[in-house]
Amino acid sequence: MKRAYLFVPLIFFIALVVLFARGLKLDPTEMPSALLDQSVPEFNLPSLASEQRLLTRADLIGQVSLINVWGTWCPSCMHEHPYLMKLANQVPIIGVNYKDVRVDANQWLQKLGNPYVINVFDEKGTLGIDLGVFGAPETYVIDRQGMVRYKHVGVVNERVWQERLKPVVDRLRGEG
């Protein structure tokens, strides 16, 4: 019986190793959105294409779609852009042009192509703060009622789409 006590430190050590090994695999940037299963916030901002055209929450909802937060100042967005072009015919992508310069952003779209059905021009990042954006690119999946159902931080590529976003989009479309 006494001898069994000798194994206590070993067991403790193994438990710690397991805990730390798990900790190593976790991605600290992967934070659940506080907005999950909540409505897309209300806003009142111009569209990127035209200063005169004001957009609100109502302009974004109605379909299962992606909201993609981007900016010309963001190198990862440049990297992500070609894949969004491919994705554009599978799911409507709403752009939130985050803390950008209007001319630069429009030039970018003209030169590289425009995967977005509509683009909100969020110059000051106010919609960004309401969405809980802390960097770009970030991509949200919203349902027909305008509820945020998933958030992905970082570049969307084939793997992310197939493994994370598409299952959610398919499920939401199935919900009818």
Partner: protein, 166 residues
């Protein structure tokens, strides 16, 4: 010598000057109290992008935006509680460096206390046990006799062995 003095003085100066807020904004406050609150909040709120820095410590664009947001809310007369709730609603509890005491943070708050208690119990048990086991000095007469014969035996046997080798 003079230079050495100068060096020492400079080193002391370096050591004494505390950590300053890395990010510098120019915000004007109505009163000293609001300024205090602003610095306290930006110290207690965490930058969502640069994960091990507070809002006040970080130079990232989002930290700048959130400091501006905190400043705006302060000027609107919001309480600390309301400001924290506002940010938690957007960025999650993650943003609080000092999380609220609630169901899923209970472990976080109680674990240190729990570990301390476990440690104390273990120490107490060990001390008690050590007291219970008799130390070498307090053998009774019989035991001392046995010990003596054992020691003598081994001495003579080693003597014999060494004798054989000679």
């Amino acid at each position: 010598m003079k230079q050495l003095c100068l060096r020492i003085v400079l080193l002391i100066g370096l050591a004494v000057s505390g950590p300053s807020l890395a990010a510098i904004d120019t915000y004007e406050f109505d009163d000293e109290q609001t300024r205090e609150r602003f610095y306290l909040l930006s110290d207690e709120l965490r930058c969502p992008k640069c994960q091990n820095q507070s809002l006040g410590d970080s130079n990232s664009p989002i930290a700048t935006d959130l400091r501006r947001e905190v400043y705006r809310l302060l000027n609107e007369g919001k309480t600390d509680r309301q400001i924290k709730d506002y940010l938690v609603a957007r960025y999650g509890e993650y943003i609080l460096y000092r999380p609220e005491l609630s169901g899923h943070t209970l472990m976080l708050w109680l674990a240190p206390l729990l570990l301390l208690v476990i440690g104390l119990v273990v120490v107490l048990i060990l001390v008690k046990r050590r007291r219970a086991t008799p130390a070498a000095g307090n053998l009774d007469v019989d035991e001392q006799q046995r010990l003596k014969t054992l020691l003598n035996d081994s001495e003579t046997s080693t003597d014999e062995e060494s004798g054989k080798r000679d």
